[in-house]
């Protein structure tokens, strides 16, 4: 049997809107993944530390406050500093198309915007984790 995909979900910044992240948590669990939700107002350090400790495949964050252009790069920086850049960082929220493109260029694997079905996130994670696995084997 395949190893279960492990995902850490968190809300960075000051935003408290957690409807989306809870729906994603439930959907990923129903799809057979192991989900660790660390809650609200997590700093980039708290998120990456928890991800490393839990040895997850992916980190998912949700930002609806407009602070995404500060928070995503901050998380990427901490991931780099803590040697966690092999983890997949994805996210969602109220994020305009231009910003989405820029974030994906910076190293966020995928940004989901309102209306995206949970199935899209599930398929993305399955594919990205499988891809990561095969890359590691090659190395």
């Amino acid at each position: 049997m395949d190893k279960k995909i492990r995902v850490l979900l968190a809300k960075p910044g000051l935003d408290g809107h957690d409807r989306g992240i809870k729906v994603i948590a439930a959907a990923l669990r129903d799809a057979g993944m192991e989900v660790i939700y660390t809650g609200l107002r997590q700093t980039p350090e708290m998120i990456v530390d928890a991800a490393v400790q839990e040895d997850v495949d992916a980190i998912g964050v949700s930002i609806l406050s407009g602070a995404h252009m500060t928070l995503f790069p901050a998380i990427l920086d901490v991931m780099k500093a803590k040697d966690a850049s092999d983890m997949i960082l994805f996210g969602g929220g109220i994020i305009p198309d231009d910003d989405k493109a820029e974030l994906e260029k910076l190293g966020v694997a995928k940004v989901f915007t309102p209306g995206a079905p949970t199935e899209e996130a599930i398929n993305f994670l399955k594919k990205a984790v499988a891809q990561k696995g095969s890359d590691e084997k090659i190395m």
Partner: protein
Amino acid sequence: MFTKNFIEKLKDRLANWNKTAEKYRGKKSMPRFFTVSGDDIDELYTPDSIKGADTENYFDEHIGLPGEYPYTRGVHHTLYRTKLWTMRQFAGMGTPIQTNERFKYILKQGGTGLSTAFDLPTLMGYDSDHVRSLGEVGKCGVAVDTLADMEIIYGGIDLAKVSTSMTINSPASVVLAMYLVVAEKQGVPFDQIRGTLQNDILKEYIAQKEFIFPPKPSIRLITDMMDYCTKNVPQFNTISISGYHIREAGATAAQELAFTLADGFCYIESAIEAGQDVDEFAPRLSFFFNAHSDFFEEIAKYRAARRIYAKRMKNKYKAKNPKSWLLRFHTQTAGCSLTAQQPENNIVRTAIQALSGVLGGTQSLHTNSMDETLALPSEKAALIALRTQQVIAHETGVANTVDPLGGSYFVEALTDKMEAEAEQYFDEIEQRGGVLQCIEDGFFQKELAKSAYRYQMELEKKDRIVVGVNDFVMEDEKIDIPVLKIDKNIEKEQVDFCKKIKADRDNGKVQQTLEHLREVAKGDGNTFEAMMECARAYVSVGEMCDVLREEWGEYTETQAAMSAS
């Protein structure tokens, strides 16, 4: 309302009718006929659908007349024929200067009330120069650090003439204290100040999650402020007990109704316990509901809310002043119903939602802008949203008569059902130990998460269609409406301004008023009066909140509340 004989005859007639209707039931235009909240709706409603309609008192106890107990049909006799609802558009962005410009624009375009949105650092009690504020300053509202910012925001606006709503909760008292000091400096007596403070901390623990302090001291802040305003700012609505955010977080209409009213009753009980007279404070309480897309369900929700509230205020809390029985409310169309796909369609959604608020007898209304799933509203989108209300008010004729849907078999049956569902929740909340215990145990939070997940699954299985999202989709759609961008320099500007004010003010006075606030917080004096002193001395939001954090501690969500479902 109907004789027993009439209902008996109707039953026979319906049996016959049903035989013919059966012939058409083989084909269905939709897989399921159900509300946004997931409740199945009958094919037809008749007097037979209304439980108790054949009893003598049904009309008086359930429907009645507008302006009369139990107020199902509205809190005023003549409603919009005497005064239209207040068109209150929520705004606030970037720096105080920009927000002041937007306010003046809204007033010039015929808006009749102001509604202030604050940025997240302000809502969470951090100053713009705090490390946790990085990237959030001025993003989803205006940044307020000290009185100096409030003086700019309301500069050139006569506070005796406008009614101002301020959407803030944990530090609500701090911001109201600053607002009153602005009025004081303008020379406006406090008894002319009108407006509403959201100030509803319970729904923060349940839904929006912008909390700072634990529940008990948070409720004390509210009762202290209510006490001050009852005596000094008599026209000001001290709290807007909000279902809006509960709905946005995933609640069904019945959950929104029940949890919001339960919160309201919790405040009322707290104020009574603090020794206040229900008839002194209750007339200044107000509510805030969502207007989601299910037209009739929403109308039934508002009508049921008024009736439940009037009954409880009169019978349970023994309020004698009829003004204490009135549930007055603000409505905002449902942000969570808007789509990022084909955003212009949001204008249509918003118009229909707004209409349900009006037919439900709302006192004030905010219509969302079409672009809110993309960013904060552009000026054009905000103007269309306001124009939507003006079209409803002046072109559709719905303001011509009070409660035009009163007596509709469907609407009355749905109103009764809404009330019954809410009563069931009140019983359950009580059995679980009350509102505060339910927050601690994550009861509300889990109910919302379950409803939100069910709704999402309905969409994904296409049981429910949302135009442009899971049907009628346009491939390779390009968004061609303007999207507002907040200038990156705003944060720096605001941080610099905050530092300048902190350097220039009388810092001896700051320390002195802050220490006084600390002493009051430790004891049982009125915290609001101490905050007024702080505000006059240009003490910042963050500084006041820090003192209270030190004395009262900070709240974090329980594990039970965080769990997904």
